[in-house]
């Protein structure tokens, strides 16, 4: 290995690297290079030893605490807004009772359908009326099939003693 090959390993002289240490023991040029690195490192540490003024730390702390206070106030505002909304909805319910259809009125809506002439009364279980009012609406739109009576056609002839009766069923047969 050449000195160039050793360069990066020597740059890590602080790390335990027996191979690099052996090379350093043999090569004066690389020893010089490693010493220069160490010198630069010390200069760098020295340069960064200058303390940051306490006012900067205080400014950061003040900003963080202000932000936390602000977010805490925001949370409380949201809680209050939610509570007030809930209270307002409750008051509205108490002042203006609900006027929507109750199960009883749904039942009334059924009656005309049930009373169709000749039709079978439409009955729905009470539980179904209560839990699924949409079924009731569907029943109103689609009336129950009407049972037709047989059709009787009376044909008169020239002879008053002869009368022809034609009786047809629902299908017109």
């Amino acid at each position: 290995m050449t000195c160039k090959d050793w360069e990066e390993r020597i740059a890590l002289a602080a790390e335990d690297d027996p191979g690099a240490e052996r090379h350093l023991a043999e090569c004066a040029a690389c020893r010089e290079k490693a010493a220069a690195w160490q010198r630069d490192l010390n200069w760098l540490k020295e340069a960064h030893r200058e303390p940051i003024a306490p006012a900067h730390y205080a400014a950061v702390r003040a900003r963080v605490l202000a932000e936390l206070e602000h977010s805490r106030r925001r949370v409380w505002r949201q809680i209050w807004a939610a509570a007030l909304s809930a209270a307002a909805i409750l008051i509205l319910f108490l002042l203006f009772p609900r006027t929507a259809q109750t199960p009883a009125t749904v039942g009334r809506a059924f009656r005309p359908v049930a009373a169709l002439p000749g039709g079978a009364p439409v009955e729905r279980p009470a539980a179904a009326r209560k839990s699924r009012p949409t079924l009731a609406r569907r029943a109103i739109r689609k009336p129950a099939p009407v049972q037709h009576e047989p059709l009787v056609v009376k044909l008169l002839t020239d002879d008053p003693n002869v009368i022809i009766y034609w009786i047809a069923d629902r299908k017109g047969e």
Binding site: L12, W37, I52, Y57, V60, V64, L68
Partner: protein, 188 residues
């Protein structure tokens, strides 16, 4: 006063109190770690105002993660990791005011060839050489050489492996050395 609060028991008490909403306790907790966070951010970003913004974000994240840290005995390690991440995000959102590529030109314009190199000038050259490094290399050098963390701790803070960190540090040192040689050859 703060020295007495360095113990893990006292720290745990402060974390519990802060978690319960005691902002005074959180203020004390920040005082314990403010040097670590602000100086690391300053070294990574190279600008005090940006470093203050980053530190603010780090402490807000600390507040949001107090529950997690109650069970951890390595708050410093967690803070190093978050500081590196926050500075990385900040750099991505807001690039450095003086671009890294211009560092050599800045050095060439301002140094006086006739003047003997003063300590301040040398420090400035070193600072510029830090700016030439990639973000990962700079973070590795800052944490390893300036903050004095072990390679293992640096790897943990950077979410990397020890081998990668070693490689980044050695490459960074070679780059810095090369920059300083060019700088001094030009000006001495």
């Amino acid at each position: 006063m703060l020295g007495a609060m360095d113990g893990p028991g006292e720290r745990l008490r402060l974390i519990e109190a802060a978690r319960a909403g005691d902002l005074a306790a959180f203020d004390l907790l920040m005082r314990q770690y403010e040097r670590l966070v602000l100086t690391t951010a300053f070294r990574l970003l190279g600008n005090l105002e940006d470093a203050k913004h980053a530190s603010q974000e780090v402490f807000l994240r600390l507040y949001r993660n107090l529950g997690k840290l109650e069970r951890s005995d390595n708050v410093s390690g967690w803070l190093y990791k978050v500081t590196v991440n926050v500075c990385h995000d900040q750099r991505r959102r807001r690039p450095a005011q003086a671009p890294v590529e211009e560092a050599e030109n800045v050095a060439a314009r301002t140094a006086d060839p006739q003047q003997e190199l003063t300590a301040a000038e040398r420090r400035r050259a070193l600072e510029l050489s830090l700016r030439l490094l990639s973000e990962r290399e700079r973070a590795a050098v800052v944490l390893r050489d300036l903050e004095g963390l072990s390679t293992e701790e640096v790897a943990r803070a950077m979410g990397s492996t020890q081998a990668t960190v070693r490689s980044q540090i050695s490459q960074a040192r070679v780059k810095m050395k090369g920059f300083l040689e060019r700088y001094f050859r030009r000006h001495v």
